[in-house]
């Protein structure tokens, strides 16, 4: 464990970190409070530096997202992709397969479903077409997700690098499609594809942008993934592989099969989130930055914040959707740069990781007279 020695006057001080034997609920609660307090403090400091009253800004953020009916509508809308993606990431991360590429898996889901909708949409009924849309989106995300899994088990390539890099590939691919071969003729030169056929668009709750089919899918899939992880043989094997690859080998668990499966799942549900964004919000494919407001990256945080439990990540997904919406609010009302909200996300993740460390380790200080 990390060790540090330093001298203070005539004293020799050594600091070590030891693994905690037990984690009491009290300690967990205290850590969570400390994390939130430290996080708010750091964010507040950042606001101060920007010349804004921190309390006012924080108030704006949370009032903007959770303080009004309009705020709630937007928060839920932005929560939909987060619910789906972070549920899938929980599965991958429990196997310690570090999928950083949910952003591109979302995009590929969007691409495939757009293709399906434009090519075959007219000839299928909504009852068949919408499920097929989601199925095709799932396949698109899953296939994109399986590439890094295969690169890892075949060639030993780090999945962190490959999933991260495939994000750029997918984003450029989408940009190419919308300015090139898929550019819509009815779009007055804008880089959009044609709209999907009307009967394939997802219905929204009146007066909102909440595409309820995807929202329901988010809840149901999170529940299913929870059951998958904690109640099935497959979930058990995923957790054993993640916690101890050696024990998994000893127990005869097939690593290749497990790695490929978790990437099919996490890539696939990210792809479904892409379907929701295309068929529920935009109705066509457009720039990657329009299709996804960095949902694939934010979901990494929400999965961790939810303790890698798909149900827990529903809550953290809602919270972070709120921050996204609140970020838009302060951008408008306080004229702060759009990146401010990313600062918020980053700081929270840092503090959270620190808190996790404290939860698992305790400091041991020795002071000796020299």
């Amino acid at each position: 464990m990390a060790e540090a020695d330093f001298r203070l006057g005539g004293l020799q001080i050594s600091l070590r970190w030891e693994l905690r034997q037990k984690q009491t609920p009290l300690l967990s609660a205290f850590t969570l409070l400390a994390v939130l307090a430290t996080g708010s403090l750091c964010v507040g400091l950042a606001f101060l530096l920007l010349g804004v009253d921190p309390l006012f800004a924080l108030g704006k953020i949370f009032l903007g997202s959770f303080g009004s009916l309009y705020g709630w509508k937007e928060t839920l809308t932005k929560g939909i992709p987060l619910f789906l993606i972070s549920g899938g990431l929980c599965v991958a991360y429990q196997a310690k397969f570090w999928n950083i590429g949910a952003e591109s898996q979302l995009l590929m889901g969007a691409v495939w479903s757009t293709w399906f909708g434009l090519r075959f949409g007219e000839s299928v009924s909504p009852g068949l077409g919408i499920p097929l849309l989601f199925l095709v989106g799932f396949l698109g995300g899953a296939l994109w997700g399986v590439i890094p899994a295969i690169l890892k088990v075949r060639f030993g390539m780090s999945e962190v690098i490959s999933t991260l890099m495939l994000n750029y590939v997918a984003a450029e691919f989408v940009s190419y499609l919308i300015v090139g071969p898929w550019k819509g003729k009815s779009k007055y030169g804008y880089p959009y594809t044609e709209d999907l056929p009307k009967h394939l668009l997802l219905g929204t709750i009146p007066g909102t942008r909440i595409h309820y089919i995807t929202l329901a899918l988010g809840f149901v899939i999170s529940l299913l993934l929870f059951l998958l992880l904690y109640r099935t043989k497959f979930g058990y094997e995923v957790r054993v592989v993640g916690e101890s690859p050696e024990a998994a080998r000893y127990a005869g668990i097939d690593y290749v099969r497990t790695a490929v499966s978790v990437m099919i799942i996490s890539g696939g549900v990210a792809g479904m989130a892409g379907v929701g964004e295309v068929a529920g919000i935009h109705h066509h494919l457009s720039y990657p930055g329009n299709i996804s407001a960095g949902y694939g990256f934010t979901a990494i945080i929400t999965a961790w914040l939810g303790n890698l439990n798909p149900l827990g990540s529903l809550l953290s997904g809602l919270f972070f959707a709120g921050i996204l919406v609140g970020g838009d609010a302060i951008q408008i009302s306080l004229r702060l740069p759009a990146a401010t909200v990313h600062l918020f996300n980053g700081i929270l993740l840092f503090v959270l990781l620190l808190g996790n460390f404290f939860l698992n380790h305790r400091p041991v200080v020795h002071i000796r007279r020299r």
């Binding site: 109640r231 099935t232 043989k233 058990y236 957790r239 916690e243 024990a247 000893y250 127990a251 005869g252």
Partner: protein, 511 residues
């Protein structure tokens, strides 16, 4: 390098009352050791005897909890290997610490403080050639390290240490990765170094090489010095007895029993180690019902690879393995388990359990995919939990509850749970690797009794252990492994500590 022409070498290194504890467990206790310049000293002992710890202390890797080190009468404290190197002490570890993708010269430049900042390679190459001439240390300067054989890499390490000004060179198990020819080349290099006034310490468990190479030998056992001798005045048998020690007291009630049909049959099996060299060479082995067969030997002589081959964790290069007549060679671990091979693994915490999962989740590891613990898709936690409660009761595992993470259990209780888990599956063969290593007396006795019980119930047990006491107490037959081969198989009646000790040290024949 000016001083090197008139070498003033270390005359004498004294380690006095050196003690070192790891989490309260003594690795070295009050050890006194003297090393003289111009002498080759052998440090002999089984694995875990404390040899490497002692030398790591001298090399500055560990700080001793007690005792002091004197070089030529002056007390020294080493805070890191850098201090030790500055005082003229060098060490070549068992696993080489070289950058594989760099050339030999680049690797040496890394450790050479005197090399010029710009273009140091030529200077180092010149020095390298000097050493080559002086000691016969042949290394290709511009080859990448990964292209070199183990023997060549070792020579690079030695040259590196010498260039850093090592007067005293420590080598940890230097011949474990060498071919016999490479070993004899190494010995002649070391002899030449000693004749020039260098001190050399060899850590080894091989009796013949100690007697062949060293002037003096110090024997360690369980962290203490148990013997010291001039090699001229000592025999292999005496050294073997010092190394394994104690006469065995039989405390279990062991009754002779007629052995039954063949359960495990290993025929001409060869297996490669992680490094790709043959670690198991043409091994034959049979285990019958109502029999415990022991595999004795110092760790690292192929036992681990053999066990992994039998349990499906490692590929068999050639040969056949059969369980109850059925060929299971190179089947997956899952299939072999289903054929009735249970395995108490060597590293019980890393392999046998998942520390962060709960006890009941650990209690069905390997069996989670069988009825009654699961159906096609879902696990049956009700059955899993009641099975776990049964295990805790039957195998006297002390646990606060079945709902705590496995890591909260003590080593003995972890092992009891693993034994219970493996035995309760009703296997045809129980394969136990170092099952009592590091356990307290109570747990040790309990686990040994469980192994005997398997035998009494008419089942087959293969026991791999370094603990001779355990082997002699429990086994019907004892096979001794040395350098990947079974160098002798003794029946219980003819097995003595001396005979096994000699075989473990690589001395063949019926000496």
């Amino acid at each position: 390098m000016a001083g090197k022409n008139f070498p003033k070498k270390i005359q004498i290194v004294r380690m006095e009352k050196i003690s070192k504890y790891f989490q309260g467990v003594p690795a070295n206790r009050d050890i006194d050791l003297t090393i003289r310049g111009g002498e080759i000293l052998g440090l002999l002992g089984e694995n875990g005897a404390g040899k490497t710890t002692l030398m790591n202390i001298l090399y500055g890797l560990y700080r001793p909890d007690g005792g002091r080190i004197l070089i030529d009468g002056k007390e020294v404290t080493f805070r890191s290997p850098r201090d030790a190197i500055r005082s003229g002490i060098g060490m070549v570890h068992q696993h080489f610490m070289l950058v594989q993708n760099h050339t030999v010269v680049e690797n040496i430049v890394l450790g050479d403080g005197e090399a010029p900042f710009f273009f140091p390679q030529r200077v180092v190459e010149r020095k390298l050639l000097q050493f080559q001439e002086r000691y016969g240390l042949k290394v290709p300067p511009w080859a990448k390290v990964w292209q070199l054989s183990a023997g060549e890499q070792q020579r690079v390490e030695i040259v590196k240490a010498l260039m850093q000004g090592a007067d005293l060179l420590i080598l940890d198990e230097p011949t474990s990765v060498l071919t016999p020819l490479e070993a004899s080349e190494l010995f002649s290099i070391l002899r030449r170094m000693a004749s020039e006034g260098h001190g050399v310490v060899i850590i080894s468990h091989k009796l013949e090489e100690i007697l062949d190479l060293c002037h003096r030998v110090v024997v360690l056992r369980k962290g203490e010095v148990v013997g010291e001798a001039e090699t001229r005045a000592v025999t292999k048998e005496e050294l073997a007895r010092m190394m394994v020690g104690r006469s065995v007291v039989f405390s279990f009630d062991w009754k002779p029993a007629p052995k039954g049909e063949v359960v495990l049959q290993v025929e001409g099996v060869s297996v490669r180690s992680d490094r790709g060299i043959l670690a198991v060479k043409q091994v034959d082995l049979t285990v019958h019902r109502r029999e415990i067969v022991g595999i004795a030997g110092v760790a690292g002589n192929g036992q681990r690879e053999l066990v992994e081959a039998i349990t499906g964790l490692r590929k068999v290069e050639s040969g056949r393995i059969r369980i109850l007549g059925k060929d299971i060679t190179n089947q997956s671990a899952r299939v072999i388990h289903a054929e009735g091979v249970a395995h108490i693994p060597e590293e019980r915490i890393r392999f046998g359990t998942v520390p962060n999962l709960l006890i009941y989740e650990n209690a069905v590891l390997k069996r989670h995919h069988f009825a009654p613990f699961s159906d096609v898709l879902f696990l049956d936690y009700g059955k899993i939990k009641s099975h776990t409660e049964d295990l805790l009761e039957h195998y006297t595992v002390a646990a606060p509850s079945i709902r705590v993470p496995m890591k909260h259990l003590s080593g003995g209780n972890i092992q009891k749970l693993i034994v219970g888990r493996e035995v309760s599956a009703g296997p045809a063969l129980l394969l136990a690797s170092h099952p009592t290593y590091g356990l307290d007396v109570g747990a040790t006795e309990y686990i040994r009794k469980q192994l005997l019980k398997r035998r009494e119930e008419g089942e087959a047990v293969l026991l791999v252990s370094e603990d001779l006491e355990e082997i002699l107490e429990l086994c019907d037959r004892i096979a001794v492994m040395f350098e990947g081969q079974i160098v002798g198989t003794l029946d219980r009646e003819e097995a003595t500590v001396e005979r096994i000790g000699l075989l473990m040290g690589g001395v063949r024949g019926n000496g």
